[in-house]
Symmetry: C2
Subunit: 301 residues, 2 copies
Protein backbone atom coordinates (compact mmCIF):
# COMPACT_ATOMS: atom_id res chain seq x y z
CA UNK A 1 0.00 0.00 0.00
CA UNK A 2 1.12 3.56 -0.62
CA UNK A 3 0.83 6.32 1.98
CA UNK A 4 -2.25 7.73 0.21
CA UNK A 5 -3.91 4.30 0.16
CA UNK A 6 -3.31 3.73 3.88
CA UNK A 7 -4.75 7.17 4.66
CA UNK A 8 -7.78 6.72 2.41
CA UNK A 9 -8.51 3.33 3.96
CA UNK A 10 -8.26 4.84 7.43
CA UNK A 11 -10.38 7.86 6.54
CA UNK A 12 -13.22 5.56 5.54
CA UNK A 13 -13.04 3.66 8.82
CA UNK A 14 -13.20 6.63 11.19
CA UNK A 15 -16.66 7.60 12.37
CA UNK A 16 -17.02 11.31 13.14
CA UNK A 17 -20.09 11.91 15.35
CA UNK A 18 -22.60 14.34 13.84
CA UNK A 19 -22.34 16.88 16.68
CA UNK A 20 -18.54 16.82 16.61
CA UNK A 21 -16.60 20.06 16.79
CA UNK A 22 -14.14 18.46 14.41
CA UNK A 23 -14.62 20.26 11.10
CA UNK A 24 -11.95 18.60 8.97
CA UNK A 25 -10.29 15.31 9.86
CA UNK A 26 -7.91 13.02 7.95
CA UNK A 27 -6.92 14.26 4.50
CA UNK A 28 -5.80 17.89 4.66
CA UNK A 29 -2.57 19.50 5.89
CA UNK A 30 -4.18 20.07 9.28
CA UNK A 31 -7.18 18.87 11.25
CA UNK A 32 -9.64 21.68 12.07
CA UNK A 33 -11.38 21.94 15.43
CA UNK A 34 -14.04 24.51 16.31
CA UNK A 35 -14.18 25.16 20.08
CA UNK A 36 -17.74 25.98 21.15
CA UNK A 37 -18.31 29.72 21.42
CA UNK A 38 -14.92 30.66 19.95
CA UNK A 39 -14.48 33.03 17.01
CA UNK A 40 -11.45 31.03 15.97
CA UNK A 41 -10.98 27.59 14.53
CA UNK A 42 -7.92 25.69 15.69
CA UNK A 43 -5.80 23.90 13.11
CA UNK A 44 -3.52 21.07 14.22
CA UNK A 45 -0.76 19.20 12.46
CA UNK A 46 1.76 16.56 13.42
CA UNK A 47 5.03 15.65 11.67
CA UNK A 48 7.72 13.09 12.37
CA UNK A 49 11.43 13.55 11.72
CA UNK A 50 13.58 10.44 12.03
CA UNK A 51 17.35 10.02 11.91
CA UNK A 52 18.41 8.06 8.85
CA UNK A 53 15.05 8.65 7.16
CA UNK A 54 14.49 12.41 7.18
CA UNK A 55 17.97 13.54 8.14
CA UNK A 56 21.53 12.36 8.83
CA UNK A 57 23.55 13.64 11.76
CA UNK A 58 26.53 13.80 9.39
CA UNK A 59 24.89 16.62 7.38
CA UNK A 60 22.39 18.13 9.84
CA UNK A 61 23.67 19.87 12.93
CA UNK A 62 21.43 19.59 16.01
CA UNK A 63 20.14 23.15 15.55
CA UNK A 64 19.25 22.34 11.91
CA UNK A 65 17.22 19.36 13.08
CA UNK A 66 15.37 21.43 15.69
CA UNK A 67 14.67 24.08 13.07
CA UNK A 68 13.52 21.60 10.44
CA UNK A 69 11.29 19.64 12.82
CA UNK A 70 9.31 22.76 13.64
CA UNK A 71 9.51 24.27 10.14
CA UNK A 72 7.68 21.26 8.69
CA UNK A 73 4.78 21.73 11.10
CA UNK A 74 4.71 25.52 10.67
CA UNK A 75 4.56 24.98 6.91
CA UNK A 76 1.31 22.99 7.36
CA UNK A 77 -0.10 25.80 9.50
CA UNK A 78 0.94 28.31 6.80
CA UNK A 79 -0.87 26.24 4.18
CA UNK A 80 -4.14 26.71 6.10
CA UNK A 81 -3.64 30.50 6.23
CA UNK A 82 -3.47 30.24 10.02
CA UNK A 83 -1.42 31.94 12.74
CA UNK A 84 0.79 29.57 14.77
CA UNK A 85 -0.07 29.61 18.48
CA UNK A 86 1.91 26.87 20.18
CA UNK A 87 3.65 23.56 19.67
CA UNK A 88 4.42 20.31 21.45
CA UNK A 89 7.57 18.28 20.83
CA UNK A 90 8.06 14.56 21.42
CA UNK A 91 11.73 13.65 21.30
CA UNK A 92 13.37 10.23 21.52
CA UNK A 93 17.08 10.66 22.12
CA UNK A 94 19.77 8.25 20.98
CA UNK A 95 22.95 7.63 23.02
CA UNK A 96 24.94 9.90 20.66
CA UNK A 97 22.68 12.87 21.51
CA UNK A 98 23.93 14.16 24.86
CA UNK A 99 23.34 17.32 26.86
CA UNK A 100 25.08 19.56 24.29
CA UNK A 101 23.11 18.03 21.42
CA UNK A 102 19.83 18.58 23.29
CA UNK A 103 20.69 22.24 24.01
CA UNK A 104 21.53 22.94 20.38
CA UNK A 105 18.46 21.10 19.10
CA UNK A 106 16.24 23.34 21.23
CA UNK A 107 18.28 26.40 20.19
CA UNK A 108 17.26 25.79 16.59
CA UNK A 109 13.69 24.96 17.48
CA UNK A 110 13.11 27.80 19.93
CA UNK A 111 14.64 30.44 17.63
CA UNK A 112 12.12 29.54 14.93
CA UNK A 113 9.26 29.15 17.40
CA UNK A 114 9.83 32.64 18.85
CA UNK A 115 10.00 34.15 15.37
CA UNK A 116 6.53 32.81 14.57
CA UNK A 117 4.83 33.08 17.97
CA UNK A 118 4.57 29.32 18.34
CA UNK A 119 5.28 28.81 22.06
CA UNK A 120 6.71 25.44 23.12
CA UNK A 121 3.98 24.17 25.46
CA UNK A 122 5.05 20.64 26.27
CA UNK A 123 5.85 17.26 24.84
CA UNK A 124 7.37 13.96 25.74
CA UNK A 125 10.91 12.64 26.22
CA UNK A 126 12.03 9.12 25.50
CA UNK A 127 15.03 7.23 24.19
CA UNK A 128 15.68 5.09 21.12
CA UNK A 129 18.62 4.13 18.93
CA UNK A 130 17.68 6.71 16.31
CA UNK A 131 16.89 10.30 17.16
CA UNK A 132 13.15 10.60 16.55
CA UNK A 133 11.20 13.81 16.79
CA UNK A 134 7.47 14.27 16.41
CA UNK A 135 6.10 17.77 16.47
CA UNK A 136 2.57 19.08 16.92
CA UNK A 137 1.80 22.64 15.90
CA UNK A 138 -1.49 24.33 16.74
CA UNK A 139 -2.64 27.46 14.94
CA UNK A 140 -5.65 29.75 14.99
CA UNK A 141 -7.68 31.01 12.04
CA UNK A 142 -10.96 32.99 11.93
CA UNK A 143 -13.95 30.64 12.10
CA UNK A 144 -14.60 28.89 8.78
CA UNK A 145 -11.77 30.68 6.96
CA UNK A 146 -9.00 28.03 6.89
CA UNK A 147 -7.59 27.36 3.42
CA UNK A 148 -8.21 23.78 2.33
CA UNK A 149 -6.63 21.74 -0.40
CA UNK A 150 -10.11 20.79 -1.59
CA UNK A 151 -11.38 24.21 -2.69
CA UNK A 152 -9.86 24.55 -6.19
CA UNK A 153 -12.25 24.95 -9.13
CA UNK A 154 -11.73 24.17 -12.81
CA UNK A 155 -10.41 27.34 -14.42
CA UNK A 156 -8.55 28.51 -11.29
CA UNK A 157 -4.97 29.67 -11.78
CA UNK A 158 -2.31 27.58 -10.01
CA UNK A 159 0.60 29.34 -8.29
CA UNK A 160 3.65 28.42 -6.24
CA UNK A 161 5.86 30.56 -4.03
CA UNK A 162 9.64 30.64 -4.47
CA UNK A 163 11.78 28.44 -6.68
CA UNK A 164 11.30 24.67 -6.73
CA UNK A 165 13.83 21.85 -6.41
CA UNK A 166 16.16 23.73 -4.06
CA UNK A 167 15.99 21.18 -1.29
CA UNK A 168 16.63 18.24 -3.67
CA UNK A 169 19.56 20.16 -5.18
CA UNK A 170 20.94 20.92 -1.72
CA UNK A 171 20.62 17.27 -0.71
CA UNK A 172 22.47 16.20 -3.88
CA UNK A 173 25.28 18.76 -3.79
CA UNK A 174 25.57 19.76 -0.12
CA UNK A 175 26.54 23.26 -1.25
CA UNK A 176 25.53 26.89 -1.21
CA UNK A 177 22.05 28.38 -0.99
CA UNK A 178 20.50 25.05 -1.94
CA UNK A 179 22.17 23.36 1.04
CA UNK A 180 20.74 26.04 3.30
CA UNK A 181 17.31 25.53 1.73
CA UNK A 182 17.60 21.82 2.50
CA UNK A 183 18.82 22.27 6.09
CA UNK A 184 16.80 25.34 7.08
CA UNK A 185 13.55 25.51 5.13
CA UNK A 186 11.62 28.73 5.72
CA UNK A 187 7.93 28.17 6.46
CA UNK A 188 5.78 30.69 4.54
CA UNK A 189 3.66 31.66 7.52
CA UNK A 190 2.94 35.31 6.65
CA UNK A 191 2.42 34.43 2.99
CA UNK A 192 -0.23 31.86 3.99
CA UNK A 193 -2.19 34.55 5.81
CA UNK A 194 -1.78 36.90 2.83
CA UNK A 195 -3.23 34.20 0.54
CA UNK A 196 -6.24 33.88 2.81
CA UNK A 197 -6.97 37.53 3.56
CA UNK A 198 -5.88 39.37 0.42
CA UNK A 199 -5.86 36.91 -2.48
CA UNK A 200 -8.80 34.84 -1.20
CA UNK A 201 -7.04 31.71 -2.44
CA UNK A 202 -9.50 28.93 -3.31
CA UNK A 203 -7.12 26.16 -2.19
CA UNK A 204 -3.66 25.87 -0.65
CA UNK A 205 -1.22 23.25 0.59
CA UNK A 206 2.48 23.10 1.26
CA UNK A 207 4.99 21.36 -0.99
CA UNK A 208 6.56 18.69 1.19
CA UNK A 209 6.68 15.63 -1.07
CA UNK A 210 7.28 17.18 -4.51
CA UNK A 211 5.03 19.17 -6.87
CA UNK A 212 4.02 16.17 -9.00
CA UNK A 213 2.62 14.27 -6.01
CA UNK A 214 1.34 17.21 -3.96
CA UNK A 215 -0.48 18.81 -6.91
CA UNK A 216 -2.08 15.43 -7.70
CA UNK A 217 -3.29 15.31 -4.07
CA UNK A 218 -4.77 18.80 -4.38
CA UNK A 219 -6.50 17.77 -7.63
CA UNK A 220 -7.85 14.61 -6.00
CA UNK A 221 -9.22 16.59 -3.05
CA UNK A 222 -10.71 19.30 -5.29
CA UNK A 223 -12.14 16.97 -7.95
CA UNK A 224 -10.03 18.56 -10.70
CA UNK A 225 -7.01 17.87 -12.87
CA UNK A 226 -4.15 20.30 -13.44
CA UNK A 227 -2.12 21.41 -16.42
CA UNK A 228 1.34 22.73 -15.58
CA UNK A 229 2.83 25.15 -18.12
CA UNK A 230 5.74 26.71 -16.24
CA UNK A 231 8.21 25.70 -13.53
CA UNK A 232 10.02 28.33 -11.45
CA UNK A 233 13.38 26.68 -10.74
CA UNK A 234 15.47 27.22 -7.64
CA UNK A 235 18.79 28.55 -9.04
CA UNK A 236 20.75 25.51 -10.30
CA UNK A 237 17.92 22.98 -9.82
CA UNK A 238 16.86 20.71 -12.68
CA UNK A 239 13.24 20.39 -13.87
CA UNK A 240 13.21 16.85 -12.43
CA UNK A 241 14.24 18.18 -9.00
CA UNK A 242 11.58 20.91 -9.27
CA UNK A 243 8.83 18.47 -10.30
CA UNK A 244 9.56 15.54 -8.02
CA UNK A 245 11.94 16.71 -5.27
CA UNK A 246 10.51 16.95 -1.76
CA UNK A 247 10.99 19.28 1.20
CA UNK A 248 10.78 22.63 -0.59
CA UNK A 249 8.11 23.81 1.89
CA UNK A 250 6.88 26.40 -0.57
CA UNK A 251 3.14 27.04 -0.85
CA UNK A 252 1.04 25.69 -3.72
CA UNK A 253 -2.22 27.61 -4.13
CA UNK A 254 -5.04 28.38 -6.51
CA UNK A 255 -6.97 31.59 -7.09
CA UNK A 256 -9.90 32.62 -9.25
CA UNK A 257 -8.65 33.48 -12.76
CA UNK A 258 -9.82 37.06 -12.13
CA UNK A 259 -7.56 37.54 -9.09
CA UNK A 260 -4.53 39.78 -9.58
CA UNK A 261 -1.57 38.12 -7.91
CA UNK A 262 1.52 40.27 -7.28
CA UNK A 263 4.88 39.10 -8.68
CA UNK A 264 6.21 38.57 -5.19
CA UNK A 265 5.31 38.72 -1.51
CA UNK A 266 7.95 40.18 0.81
CA UNK A 267 10.64 39.24 -1.70
CA UNK A 268 9.39 35.68 -2.34
CA UNK A 269 8.34 35.28 -6.00
CA UNK A 270 4.78 34.12 -6.71
CA UNK A 271 4.67 32.31 -10.07
CA UNK A 272 1.71 31.11 -12.05
CA UNK A 273 2.50 27.52 -13.02
CA UNK A 274 -0.73 26.42 -14.70
CA UNK A 275 -4.49 26.00 -14.61
CA UNK A 276 -7.01 23.71 -12.91
CA UNK A 277 -9.17 21.73 -15.32
CA UNK A 278 -12.37 19.69 -15.22
CA UNK A 279 -12.23 15.90 -15.70
CA UNK A 280 -9.44 13.31 -15.23
CA UNK A 281 -9.75 13.90 -11.47
CA UNK A 282 -6.43 13.65 -9.65
CA UNK A 283 -4.28 13.79 -12.79
CA UNK A 284 -1.50 16.26 -13.43
CA UNK A 285 -0.39 17.15 -16.96
CA UNK A 286 2.81 18.90 -18.00
CA UNK A 287 2.04 21.00 -21.09
CA UNK A 288 -0.81 18.62 -21.88
CA UNK A 289 1.08 15.34 -21.33
CA UNK A 290 0.42 13.12 -18.29
CA UNK A 291 2.96 13.63 -15.49
CA UNK A 292 3.71 10.71 -13.17
CA UNK A 293 3.35 11.51 -9.47
CA UNK A 294 6.94 10.57 -8.60
CA UNK A 295 7.18 12.67 -5.45
CA UNK A 296 8.14 11.10 -2.15
CA UNK A 297 6.03 8.27 -0.72
CA UNK A 298 7.35 6.44 2.34
CA UNK A 299 5.87 3.11 1.28
CA UNK A 300 6.59 3.00 -2.40
CA UNK A 301 10.35 3.37 -2.17
CA UNK B 1 20.78 14.61 32.92
CA UNK B 2 17.54 12.95 34.01
CA UNK B 3 14.24 13.45 32.24
CA UNK B 4 13.10 15.88 34.94
CA UNK B 5 16.34 17.89 34.65
CA UNK B 6 16.02 18.20 30.87
CA UNK B 7 12.41 19.36 31.23
CA UNK B 8 13.19 21.85 34.00
CA UNK B 9 16.05 23.31 31.96
CA UNK B 10 13.76 23.64 28.96
CA UNK B 11 10.91 25.15 30.98
CA UNK B 12 13.20 27.94 32.13
CA UNK B 13 14.25 28.71 28.56
CA UNK B 14 10.80 29.05 27.02
CA UNK B 15 9.34 32.54 26.96
CA UNK B 16 5.54 32.60 27.14
CA UNK B 17 4.22 35.98 25.91
CA UNK B 18 2.07 37.81 28.49
CA UNK B 19 -1.06 37.85 26.30
CA UNK B 20 -0.73 34.17 25.44
CA UNK B 21 -3.80 31.94 25.53
CA UNK B 22 -1.49 29.23 26.84
CA UNK B 23 -2.47 28.74 30.50
CA UNK B 24 -0.17 25.89 31.47
CA UNK B 25 2.91 24.87 29.51
CA UNK B 26 5.73 22.44 30.22
CA UNK B 27 5.45 20.56 33.51
CA UNK B 28 1.96 19.07 33.89
CA UNK B 29 0.32 16.01 32.31
CA UNK B 30 -1.16 18.25 29.61
CA UNK B 31 -0.68 21.74 28.23
CA UNK B 32 -3.74 23.96 28.68
CA UNK B 33 -4.93 26.36 25.99
CA UNK B 34 -7.81 28.81 26.37
CA UNK B 35 -9.35 29.70 23.00
CA UNK B 36 -10.66 33.29 23.00
CA UNK B 37 -14.36 33.43 23.73
CA UNK B 38 -14.71 29.73 24.52
CA UNK B 39 -16.26 28.36 27.71
CA UNK B 40 -13.87 25.43 27.52
CA UNK B 41 -10.16 25.09 27.99
CA UNK B 42 -8.40 22.62 25.74
CA UNK B 43 -5.90 20.21 27.26
CA UNK B 44 -3.29 18.59 25.02
CA UNK B 45 -0.87 15.77 25.59
CA UNK B 46 1.63 13.87 23.48
CA UNK B 47 3.14 10.44 24.12
CA UNK B 48 5.62 8.29 22.23
CA UNK B 49 5.57 4.49 22.04
CA UNK B 50 8.66 2.88 20.52
CA UNK B 51 9.35 -0.75 19.63
CA UNK B 52 12.06 -2.22 21.84
CA UNK B 53 11.68 0.60 24.38
CA UNK B 54 8.00 0.68 25.32
CA UNK B 55 6.91 -2.62 23.81
CA UNK B 56 8.11 -5.75 22.02
CA UNK B 57 6.29 -7.21 19.05
CA UNK B 58 6.90 -10.66 20.61
CA UNK B 59 4.57 -9.84 23.52
CA UNK B 60 2.34 -7.07 22.15
CA UNK B 61 -0.02 -7.84 19.31
CA UNK B 62 -0.64 -4.96 16.88
CA UNK B 63 -4.07 -4.25 18.43
CA UNK B 64 -2.45 -4.09 21.90
CA UNK B 65 0.00 -1.51 20.61
CA UNK B 66 -2.76 0.61 19.07
CA UNK B 67 -4.73 0.37 22.32
CA UNK B 68 -1.75 1.21 24.52
CA UNK B 69 -0.59 4.14 22.38
CA UNK B 70 -3.95 5.86 22.78
CA UNK B 71 -4.54 4.69 26.38
CA UNK B 72 -1.39 6.52 27.52
CA UNK B 73 -2.63 9.79 26.06
CA UNK B 74 -6.19 9.31 27.33
CA UNK B 75 -4.76 8.69 30.79
CA UNK B 76 -3.16 12.15 30.74
CA UNK B 77 -6.50 13.66 29.68
CA UNK B 78 -8.20 11.75 32.52
CA UNK B 79 -5.67 13.16 34.98
CA UNK B 80 -6.80 16.69 34.08
CA UNK B 81 -10.46 15.78 34.67
CA UNK B 82 -11.13 16.50 30.99
CA UNK B 83 -13.30 14.91 28.31
CA UNK B 84 -11.34 13.52 25.33
CA UNK B 85 -12.36 15.17 22.05
CA UNK B 86 -10.00 13.95 19.34
CA UNK B 87 -6.56 12.55 18.67
CA UNK B 88 -3.79 12.60 16.07
CA UNK B 89 -1.48 9.67 15.44
CA UNK B 90 2.01 9.77 13.93
CA UNK B 91 3.16 6.33 12.95
CA UNK B 92 6.52 5.21 11.58
CA UNK B 93 6.22 1.70 10.20
CA UNK B 94 9.00 -0.87 10.07
CA UNK B 95 9.31 -3.43 7.25
CA UNK B 96 7.82 -6.14 9.49
CA UNK B 97 4.59 -4.13 9.90
CA UNK B 98 2.63 -4.75 6.71
CA UNK B 99 -0.98 -4.12 5.67
CA UNK B 100 -2.40 -6.64 8.17
CA UNK B 101 -0.36 -5.20 11.03
CA UNK B 102 -1.55 -1.68 10.17
CA UNK B 103 -5.20 -2.78 10.09
CA UNK B 104 -4.95 -4.48 13.47
CA UNK B 105 -3.06 -1.59 15.04
CA UNK B 106 -5.88 0.75 14.06
CA UNK B 107 -8.48 -1.82 15.22
CA UNK B 108 -7.07 -1.55 18.74
CA UNK B 109 -6.71 2.20 18.58
CA UNK B 110 -10.11 2.97 17.04
CA UNK B 111 -12.00 0.65 19.43
CA UNK B 112 -10.63 2.60 22.39
CA UNK B 113 -11.05 5.96 20.67
CA UNK B 114 -14.75 5.31 19.94
CA UNK B 115 -15.35 4.19 23.52
CA UNK B 116 -14.07 7.53 24.83
CA UNK B 117 -15.29 9.90 22.10
CA UNK B 118 -11.74 10.68 20.98
CA UNK B 119 -12.11 10.88 17.18
CA UNK B 120 -9.01 10.16 15.09
CA UNK B 121 -8.55 13.45 13.26
CA UNK B 122 -5.26 13.02 11.43
CA UNK B 123 -1.59 12.35 11.86
CA UNK B 124 1.49 11.48 9.90
CA UNK B 125 2.88 8.34 8.28
CA UNK B 126 6.54 7.52 7.90
CA UNK B 127 8.88 4.56 7.98
CA UNK B 128 11.75 3.52 10.25
CA UNK B 129 13.41 0.29 11.39
CA UNK B 130 11.49 0.30 14.66
CA UNK B 131 7.76 0.82 14.85
CA UNK B 132 7.36 4.26 16.40
CA UNK B 133 4.08 5.82 17.36
CA UNK B 134 3.47 9.28 18.74
CA UNK B 135 -0.02 10.19 19.79
CA UNK B 136 -1.63 13.54 20.53
CA UNK B 137 -4.87 13.64 22.47
CA UNK B 138 -6.92 16.78 22.87
CA UNK B 139 -9.59 17.12 25.54
CA UNK B 140 -12.00 19.78 26.74
CA UNK B 141 -12.64 20.92 30.30
CA UNK B 142 -14.74 23.84 31.64
CA UNK B 143 -12.71 27.04 31.70
CA UNK B 144 -10.26 27.15 34.60
CA UNK B 145 -11.37 23.80 36.01
CA UNK B 146 -8.60 21.44 34.83
CA UNK B 147 -7.02 19.37 37.59
CA UNK B 148 -3.33 20.15 37.99
CA UNK B 149 -0.59 18.27 39.76
CA UNK B 150 0.41 21.48 41.50
CA UNK B 151 -2.72 22.05 43.62
CA UNK B 152 -2.11 19.75 46.61
CA UNK B 153 -1.93 21.35 50.06
CA UNK B 154 -0.24 20.13 53.26
CA UNK B 155 -2.84 18.09 55.13
CA UNK B 156 -4.62 16.86 51.99
CA UNK B 157 -5.39 13.15 51.83
CA UNK B 158 -3.62 11.22 49.03
CA UNK B 159 -5.54 8.58 47.09
CA UNK B 160 -4.94 6.21 44.18
CA UNK B 161 -7.40 4.31 42.04
CA UNK B 162 -7.13 0.53 41.55
CA UNK B 163 -4.32 -1.77 42.63
CA UNK B 164 -0.70 -0.83 41.96
CA UNK B 165 2.12 -2.88 40.42
CA UNK B 166 -0.11 -4.84 38.04
CA UNK B 167 1.67 -3.74 34.90
CA UNK B 168 5.13 -4.53 36.34
CA UNK B 169 3.83 -7.92 37.46
CA UNK B 170 2.36 -8.61 34.02
CA UNK B 171 5.61 -7.60 32.34
CA UNK B 172 7.54 -9.98 34.64
CA UNK B 173 5.23 -12.99 34.43
CA UNK B 174 3.38 -12.56 31.12
CA UNK B 175 0.36 -14.19 32.71
CA UNK B 176 -3.26 -13.65 33.72
CA UNK B 177 -4.98 -10.42 34.70
CA UNK B 178 -1.62 -8.71 35.25
CA UNK B 179 -0.59 -9.46 31.67
CA UNK B 180 -3.82 -7.91 30.47
CA UNK B 181 -3.19 -4.87 32.67
CA UNK B 182 0.24 -4.52 31.06
CA UNK B 183 -0.99 -4.94 27.48
CA UNK B 184 -4.34 -3.17 27.72
CA UNK B 185 -4.25 -0.47 30.39
CA UNK B 186 -7.63 1.13 31.02
CA UNK B 187 -7.51 4.93 31.10
CA UNK B 188 -9.63 6.26 34.00
CA UNK B 189 -11.44 8.87 31.93
CA UNK B 190 -14.81 8.93 33.73
CA UNK B 191 -13.10 8.73 37.11
CA UNK B 192 -11.03 11.81 36.25
CA UNK B 193 -14.20 13.79 35.62
CA UNK B 194 -15.72 12.46 38.84
CA UNK B 195 -12.64 13.67 40.76
CA UNK B 196 -13.07 17.11 39.27
CA UNK B 197 -16.84 17.55 39.55
CA UNK B 198 -17.79 15.58 42.69
CA UNK B 199 -14.70 15.22 44.87
CA UNK B 200 -13.21 18.59 43.91
CA UNK B 201 -9.76 16.99 43.97
CA UNK B 202 -7.03 19.51 44.78
CA UNK B 203 -4.46 17.78 42.53
CA UNK B 204 -4.32 14.83 40.15
CA UNK B 205 -1.93 13.07 37.80
CA UNK B 206 -1.70 9.66 36.22
CA UNK B 207 0.69 6.95 37.36
CA UNK B 208 2.84 6.23 34.32
CA UNK B 209 6.37 5.99 35.76
CA UNK B 210 5.73 4.45 39.18
CA UNK B 211 4.24 5.86 42.40
CA UNK B 212 7.59 6.72 44.01
CA UNK B 213 8.61 8.96 41.11
CA UNK B 214 5.19 10.32 40.15
CA UNK B 215 4.23 11.22 43.71
CA UNK B 216 7.59 12.98 44.11
CA UNK B 217 6.74 14.98 40.97
CA UNK B 218 3.36 15.93 42.39
CA UNK B 219 5.02 17.01 45.65
CA UNK B 220 7.60 19.04 43.74
CA UNK B 221 4.87 20.79 41.73
CA UNK B 222 2.70 21.41 44.81
CA UNK B 223 5.49 22.49 47.17
CA UNK B 224 4.76 19.64 49.59
CA UNK B 225 6.16 16.31 50.75
CA UNK B 226 4.14 13.11 51.12
CA UNK B 227 3.94 10.37 53.69
CA UNK B 228 2.68 7.04 52.34
CA UNK B 229 1.04 4.74 54.89
CA UNK B 230 -0.73 2.15 52.76
CA UNK B 231 -0.24 0.50 49.35
CA UNK B 232 -3.18 -1.11 47.54
CA UNK B 233 -1.52 -3.98 45.67
CA UNK B 234 -2.66 -5.39 42.36
CA UNK B 235 -3.38 -9.08 43.15
CA UNK B 236 -0.01 -10.87 43.18
CA UNK B 237 2.13 -7.73 42.87
CA UNK B 238 4.94 -7.06 45.32
CA UNK B 239 5.30 -3.79 47.27
CA UNK B 240 8.38 -3.00 45.13
CA UNK B 241 6.32 -3.39 41.95
CA UNK B 242 3.57 -1.22 43.45
CA UNK B 243 6.00 1.50 44.56
CA UNK B 244 8.33 1.66 41.58
CA UNK B 245 6.68 -0.16 38.66
CA UNK B 246 5.52 1.97 35.74
CA UNK B 247 2.58 1.88 33.37
CA UNK B 248 -0.25 1.29 35.83
CA UNK B 249 -2.16 4.28 34.41
CA UNK B 250 -4.15 4.61 37.60
CA UNK B 251 -4.95 8.07 38.93
CA UNK B 252 -3.10 9.63 41.85
CA UNK B 253 -5.07 12.46 43.47
CA UNK B 254 -5.42 14.55 46.58
CA UNK B 255 -8.51 15.89 48.32
CA UNK B 256 -9.18 18.11 51.28
CA UNK B 257 -9.07 16.03 54.50
CA UNK B 258 -12.78 16.86 54.97
CA UNK B 259 -13.82 15.29 51.67
CA UNK B 260 -15.67 11.97 51.88
CA UNK B 261 -14.27 9.69 49.21
CA UNK B 262 -16.30 6.58 48.32
CA UNK B 263 -14.62 3.15 48.55
CA UNK B 264 -14.86 2.72 44.82
CA UNK B 265 -15.95 4.41 41.62
CA UNK B 266 -17.77 2.19 39.10
CA UNK B 267 -16.07 -0.85 40.59
CA UNK B 268 -12.55 0.63 40.72
CA UNK B 269 -11.33 0.89 44.34
CA UNK B 270 -10.27 4.31 45.62
CA UNK B 271 -7.72 3.88 48.42
CA UNK B 272 -6.26 6.43 50.76
CA UNK B 273 -2.50 5.89 50.69
CA UNK B 274 -1.25 8.79 52.80
CA UNK B 275 -1.11 12.50 53.55
CA UNK B 276 0.51 15.58 52.05
CA UNK B 277 2.89 17.40 54.42
CA UNK B 278 4.61 20.75 54.68
CA UNK B 279 8.41 20.96 54.27
CA UNK B 280 10.98 18.69 52.58
CA UNK B 281 9.48 19.76 49.24
CA UNK B 282 9.49 17.00 46.64
CA UNK B 283 10.27 14.20 49.10
CA UNK B 284 8.22 11.06 49.57
CA UNK B 285 8.29 9.09 52.83
CA UNK B 286 7.06 5.56 53.40
CA UNK B 287 5.74 5.34 56.97
CA UNK B 288 8.04 8.21 57.88
CA UNK B 289 11.20 6.91 56.20
CA UNK B 290 12.56 8.49 52.98
CA UNK B 291 11.57 6.61 49.84
CA UNK B 292 13.88 6.77 46.81
CA UNK B 293 12.16 7.84 43.57
CA UNK B 294 13.12 4.68 41.69
CA UNK B 295 10.34 4.89 39.08
CA UNK B 296 11.13 4.88 35.39
CA UNK B 297 13.38 7.59 33.94
CA UNK B 298 14.48 7.23 30.29
CA UNK B 299 17.86 8.82 30.91
CA UNK B 300 18.90 7.31 34.19
CA UNK B 301 18.76 3.67 33.14
Amino acid sequence: MTESEILERLRRRVRVPRNSELITGIGDDCAIYRPRGSREDLVLTTDMLIEGIHFETSTHRPADIGHKALARGLSDIAAMGAQPRFCLVSLALAPHAGAKWIDQFYNGLLALSERHGSVLAGGDLSHSDRITCDIVVIGGVPRGKALLRSGALAGDAIYVSGGLGGSALGLATGRGAAKRRHLRPEPRVELGQFLRTRLRATAAMDLSDGLSLDLARMCQASGTSANVEFLPLFPGATPVQALHGGEDYELLFTVSPKTRVPDDYAGVPLSRIGTMQAGSVGCVFLKGRPLAALGYDHFRQ
